[in-house]
């Protein structure tokens, strides 16, 4: 399940709801990853754009990959502005066994960072500035660039 919320995530509500949803499904390990906006570089917060069709395809591929090893993945992300100390991202793995869950939360979060079509902006003094220096080109980027 993939959920997109306008503004900050209600972390406790989401963690509890996911836990309840799977309470009877005999998973031995539940590992959520919660990403929270840090105070740094005098930002007031962050803001996010999401391209949903490709995010949904990316997430579906992960659901399939998880299912092959008896696990499931869930994810929530914010659209728009999220202020300091608020949370913008939760990913979670449920699995019968701990090793699968520990390895999958790591590879899921890292692939998310490298591939999910989400753009981050710093909110600073009323401006919304693309976080170019912290962004990663998706695999096979640059196809349309002039050959040197």
């Amino acid at each position: 399940m993939l959920e997109l919320h306008n503004g900050a995530l209600h972390v406790s509500e989401i963690l509890a709801r996911w836990c309840d949803e799977e309470a009877r499904n005999n998973y031995g390990a539940y590992i959520p990853f919660v990403g929270t906006v840090r105070s740094e570089d005098s930002i007031d917060g962050l803001s996010f754009d999401i391209y949903e069709p490709i995010l949904e395809n990316w997430f579906s591929a992960w659901q399939f990959k998880a299912k092959e090893v008896g696990a499931i993945v869930k994810m929530a992300h914010s659209r728009g502005d999220v202020m300091l100390h608020e949370s913008s991202y939760i990913a979670a793995v449920f699995s019968p066994k701990r090793r699968v869950a520990l390895e999958m939360i790591d590879s899921f979060v890292e692939d998310f960072k490298a591939s999910a079509p989400i753009w981050k902006y710093d909110l600073k003094g009323g401006n919304r500035i693309y976080a170019a220096d912290r962004s990663t080109p998706i695999k096979n980027s640059g196809l349309l660039g002039k050959k040197s």
Binding site: G35, F48, D49, I50, Y51, P53, I54, N57, H77, S88, Y89, V109, F112, K113, A114, S115, A116, P117, I118, W119, K120, Y121, Y130, A131, A132, R134, S135, T136, P137, I138, K139, N140, S141, G142, L143, L144, G145, K146
Partner: protein
């Protein structure tokens, strides 16, 4: 005609253009100097599927999307 969309921080309105492959799209976009840096760092999707080569045939009504570097989380 194919529709070209610029996602995230690329502030540019969608374009309609004649193209029978991504090579044609590349040719047109490279004429726009504003787009130069974005073209070098953006990934490309056709009808919401990321592609790994320009050798993709396009037909009328196809959608080409440019995805600049990402940073979710």
């Amino acid at each position: 005609m194919v529709q070209v969309e610029f996602l995230g921080p690329i502030s540019k309105e969608p374009m309609q253009l004649e193209a029978s492959s991504l090579h044609d799209v590349a040719k047109v976009l490279n004429e726009d100097s504003e787009l130069k840096t974005w073209l070098e760092s953006a990934a490309v999707a056709v009808n919401d599927t990321l592609v790994s080569s320009l050798d993709v045939a396009l037909k009328d009504g196809d959608k080409v999307s440019l995805l600049p570097p990402v940073c979710g989380g």
